[in-house]
């Protein structure tokens, strides 16, 4: 070992406390750099493997494709493979809660869909069928492979269900029932192409096209998605009929957004690491000047000094980096296991599959490139942090070191200070903080940056509110509404037009619901189908399937709507006259671009079997939850009812006393149980679904928060310890001339409070602004249904409490540590 290394190692021991600090900072950097990609990539590779096992290897699906287009697609060079699937009809059970769609697959579609039979073969002839035991049971049928069953069914024609017929089929194969099929009563028996040809006239087939695009290797998901969209549009398909298989795409192609996000996060960690390590070196360099000067005096060259600093730093890194990587790997793997076991996937089957893959150890969670990456980046971080200290140490001359008295910095020396006439501890603290204003400011900003990110991320988290998402669907505790079904020839009474003529939502039923224990109010909304247009349409009848919801709101709902108005006003006279309508800006953008408030329009509404038309005024636009305003247009209840002669009551929003929701829901359910066309939903049920939907995102978000928090706390600890460490001698001196222990602690506390207050002010101030901007961005992009701004009160309070607690703890520990040294040691420090 040469003398440079020996000196570096000797320094390593001598500067133990500083090196432990730096070691922790490096360890944390390496830890985060390993843990984060391990978790993300591990979670993703598990997911991807599960996806590849379960999902169709198709790039996307086009729906509602007519025969001609489907044939064209099969010949189209854009596609590598094209498979067709068709709904030939539905088994008819008479029970609304059972759906058994008779599916037809061509061979390609069947292969792409990865359909496996439990036994038997796929249907070929027109009278062959594949069923599941659940399906048979639901239909009240019995049989196995080879048996013949009589199936009543409704043929499907362009989305409409025709009158039921009956046909005898031979069961050629059986499939397994998925648990959710049994739960939801949804089955998909398979019939043959021959059957479809038999019951659907040529030219009237409607297909779902499963496809793989040609020549997409090396493309990123965003490009593939764009191509799927453009190709679909070329065939005249609307946005709703184009679906990309995003899980599969994500699993098999590079997603730019995902990697950009991960990259940005890693860059942030590196930046925080550099800041932290650099600042420790920077500060400790001040009291090392004499030492390096002495080395210079006895003949060490600049290069040698630089090497000493470098080797000391890398000796610490040699221990801290592997330790950090090992810890990162362990916690990354534990985190993956925890994430998979709480099964946060929106798709339970996928979640289960991931568990299986994890349990079988099929996915390698430890990735060598992550280790190499973390090690390289951590060392680079250390190197970059060391550059300036190395340079500075190298520049120190012997003379500088001998003359060095501490506290002087830079070329521009301050000569004077106005100062105070009288001194007190707070003033003393202020003088100390003011000694190097730039450093103080930089420290606060460095501490604040993580706080700002924390508060901004927390704002998004708190705006991602399950209740807000739920309130899009349901306004009060219980919702009872009409559940109509169009185009079923077997049940014309399920069509909305028929229901309006014989509406089950009678006053009598309403008062019965009102009488249930706990029910405090029932708000009634009207709804019918209709359409706005800027031209009067000739003829009273119109195609019903292009109609949208027109909602009629009672006075209370109108009042609630007020807060969501984006243009116009609810005081518009047309609303009082009964001719005003309110539309959402997004509806305007998507369907009626160019309309503005005040325009005269024509409103067409369905009234039983009739279609009525009248002239209206676009009174206002409002960006309200759909549960309040519906999805298309709204107007006051009385005005809408006046347009119609039939009973268009559609929805009851029922409020229930706290604690009685479940009991009331049960009673409501009983009351409406014999009315087939009424359905009930409760806030609790829907909210549970919303909570599940946002759980994964929230978890990721909070994970991010803790990373920011950890970095921030490390920075705070480092700053405080350094400020004491460097001034050990000065503090000892102050105590020698009579500063008591209590006063020392008080002074350190004041300093801590200053940094804390500064950090909190920056974090909460800038963080809130940035958070609000993030909220606006998310709201605009419709991300996670963010619609309402919620200030992240709890995270903000937590941040404040944690920062204060950390500061108090540090002061306490510093003081404890300080007491261990005798006053004499302290005064002699750095000599």
């Amino acid at each position: 070992m040469n003398i440079i290394t020996t000196t570096a190692l000797a320094n390593l021991k001598k500067n133990k406390s500083r090196n432990i600090l730096i070691g922790i900072a490096i360890l944390l950097t390496a830890f985060l750099l390993t843990m984060l990609p391990t978790t993300v990539m591990g979670q993703m590779s598990l997911r991807f493997q599960a996806v590849s096992k379960l999902y169709s290897p198709v790039h996307g699906v086009y729906r509602n494709v007519d025969e001609e287009s489907a044939a064209q697609m099969s010949r189209d060079e854009t596609f590598e493979t094209v498979g067709l699937r068709e709904q030939a009809g539905r088994m008819y059970s008479g029970d609304r809660h059972i759906t058994a769609v008779m599916m037809v697959y061509d061979e390609t579609a069947r292969k792409l869909s990865k359909i496996v039979l439990k036994e038997g073969t796929f249907p070929k002839k027109a009278d062959e069928i594949v069923v599941s035991s659940g399906c048979l049971k639901a239909m009240g049928l019995k049989g196995g492979v080879g048996d013949r069953i009589k199936v009543p069914y409704q043929p499907m024609r362009k989305g409409k269900l025709l009158k039921a017929a009956e046909k005898e089929f031979t069961i050629t194969g059986m499939t397994e029932d998925a648990p959710e099929s049994l739960e939801k009563g949804f089955y998909a028996p398979m019939v043959s192409e021959a059957f479809a040809k038999e019951i659907i006239p040529e030219g009237e087939h409607t297909y779902e096209v499963y496809f793989q695009l040609r020549a997409v290797e090396g493309m990123v998901t965003e490009e593939i998605e764009e191509r799927i969209k453009l190709t679909g549009e070329r065939y005249g398909l609307t946005e709703g009929d184009i679906a990309e298989n995003s899980e599969y795409l994500l699993a098999n192609y590079v997603d730019v957004a995902l990697y950009t996000g991960l990259g940005a996060l890693l860059a942030l960690i590196v930046l925080a690491g550099i800041l932290t390590i650099y600042s420790i070196y920077y500060v400790s360099m001040l009291d090392k000047i004499q030492e390096y000067g002495r080395l210079r005096a006895i003949g060490a060259t600049r290069r040698q000094i630089r090497r000493i600093v470098f080797r000391e730093g890398f000796a610490v890194a040699a221990i801290a980096v592997p330790a950090g990587i090992i810890l990162g790997l362990i916690s990354g793997i534990l985190l993956i296991k925890a994430l998979v076991n709480v099964s946060l996937s929106s798709d339970p089957v996928l979640g289960e599959e991931m568990k299986v893959i994890l349990a079988n150890g099929e996915a390698s969670l430890v990735k060598w490139w992550i280790i190499a990456f973390a090690a390289a980046v951590s060392l680079l971080t250390v190197y970059v942090s060391l550059l300036r200290p190395m340079h500075k140490a190298g520049r120190i001359t012997a003379i500088q070191a001998l003359r060095y008295q501490g506290g002087q910095k830079g070329k521009k020396k301050r000569r004077d200070r106005k100062g105070y006439d009288e001194l007190s501890i707070p003033r003393l603290t202020a003088s100390n903080l003011g000694r190097n204003k730039r450093r103080t400011a930089v420290t606060i900003m460095a501490l604040g940056v993580t706080g700002v990110l924390f508060v901004a991320a927390a704002t998004l988290c708190s705006c991602m509110n399950a209740e807000d998402i739920t309130r899009n669907d349901i306004r009060r505790d219980i919702k009872v509404c009409i559940d109509s079904e169009m185009d079923d020839e077997m049940h014309p009474e399920w069509a909305l037009s028929a229901i309006q003529q014989n509406n089950p939502m009678t006053e009598e039923l309403r008062s019965k619901v009102g009488g249930i224990d706990g029910v405090t109010s029932i708000e009634t909304s009207l709804l019918t189908q209709g359409k706005l247009s800027d031209e009067k349409e000739e003829g009273e009848k119109s195609e019903t399937d292009e109609l949208c919801d027109i909602k009629g709101l009672d006075a209370a709902s109108m009042k609630e709507l007020e807060q969501y108005i984006t243009d116009g006003s609810l005081d518009d006279p047309s609303l009082k006259e009964g001719t005003g309508v309110i539309v959402s800006p997004s509806t305007m953008k998507e369907m009626h671009a160019g309309w503005k408030v005040g325009d005269r329009l024509f409103l067409k509404v369905m009234d039983g079997r009739e279609i009525r038309q009248r002239e209206v005024v676009l009174a206002a636009t409002a960006e309200a939850p759909p549960s309040l305003m519906g999805y298309y247009a709204a107007m006051p209840k009385d005005a809408l009812q006046k347009l119609c002669s039939s009973d268009i009551t559609y929805l009851w929003d029922i409020s229930v006393e706290k604690g009685k929701e479940d009991a009331a829901a049960k009673e409501v359910e009983e009351l409406i149980s014999d009315v087939e066309i009424l359905q009930m939903e409760t806030f609790r049920e829907i909210n549970k679904q919303s909570e599940n939907a946002i759980r994964l995102v929230l978890l990721g978000c909070y994970g991010l928060l803790s990373v920011f928090g950890l970095i921030g706390i490390l920075n705070l600890i480092n700053t405080m310890i350094n400020s004491v460490h460097v001034r050990k001698k000065e503090l000892g001196m102050l105590q020698a001339i009579g500063m008591s222990g209590r006063q020392t602690v008080y002074m350190l506390q004041l300093e801590g409070i200053f940094y804390t207050a500064g950090t909190l002010a920056v974090s909460l101030g800038l963080g809130s602004i940035l958070g609000y901007a993030a909220y606006l961005w998310a709201k605009d992009g419709g991300i996670m249904s963010i619609r309402v701004y919620h200030y992240p009160v709890i995270p903000a309070v937590c941040l404040t409490v944690i920062v204060l607690a950390v500061q108090i703890l540090i002061t306490y520990f510093v003081n404890m540590n300080f007491k261990k040294l005798s006053l004499i040691d302290r005064i002699r420090f750095a000599e």
Partner: protein, 222 residues
């Protein structure tokens, strides 16, 4: 003359066994009010340790330090700190000024720590005596060594402590400045009727004292 400061059988050992160092070995001294005592001894003789004990900066293994009739080691740390700033003024070899504070603030620092109102006339009188009236707003980094030590002297005097303890106050100064500083210290001490105990290497300076104590291996030999 009354005895203001005395030690009774003071002992302070460092380490044990073979490597034990007897920094102070059963030392008993007495200093009278208004006296200027120089403590002389070789490097490592224990003189600095003795001074630290006298000032209550370090606690002895056994024995007592009695200042104004009070055993200062019977005080708790907090009380001792208060006692120190009120009764004892320290002057160190390397000045130990607070770099963030200007000359005036450095001088009144002990008063500030005690929450005392500054007697401006008195402090200004000291400042004039040490010849730094023009430099009150200056930061320590802009002062010469001699100026810094004069600030340290003013700081030690500002509280009108009964005793001034100086640990080689001129060790870092050239000989001309050295004499200036010592004369100044001596003048001030006698003007404000204070007791001065000073450690020095320098025979010439020791000669300016009322009494010289020689310390060898932790024992006062004369």
């Amino acid at each position: 003359m009354e005895t203001i400061l005395k030690t009774v059988d003071l002992v302070k050992y460092y380490g044990d066994g073979e490597s034990q160092v007897k920094a102070i070995d059963h030392t008993s001294i007495e200093v009278e009010n208004g006296e200027f005592v120089a403590i002389v001894g070789r490097s490592g003789s224990g003189k600095s340790t003795l001074l630290h004990m006298l000032g209550g900066l370090d606690r002895p293994d056994s024995g007592e330090v009695i200042i104004g009739g009070k055993n200062i080691f019977s005080l708790k740390d907090e009380q001792l700190a208060v006692f120190r700033r009120r009764k004892i003024g320290f002057i160190f070899q390397d000045y130990n000024l607070i770099p963030a504070l200007n000359v005036w603030e450095n001088i009144i620092l002990p008063l500030g720590l005690d929450g005392k109102k500054v007697n401006k006339d008195f402090v200004m009188d000291i400042v004039k005596n040490i010849g730094l009236a023009e430099k009150l707003k200056s930061l320590p980094s802009t002062l010469s060594g001699g100026q810094k030590q004069r600030v340290a002297i003013a700081r030690a005097l500002a509280f009108r402590p009964a005793i001034i303890l100086a640990d080689e106050p001129t060790g870092n100064l050239d000989s001309k400045t050295e004499m200036e500083v010592i004369s100044l210290l001596k003048t001030c001490v006698s003007k404000y009727a204070q007791t001065l105990v000073m450690i020095t290497h320098d025979e010439t300076i020791a000669q300016m004292a009322d009494r010289v104590m020689i310390i060898e291996d932790g024992k006062v030999v004369r």
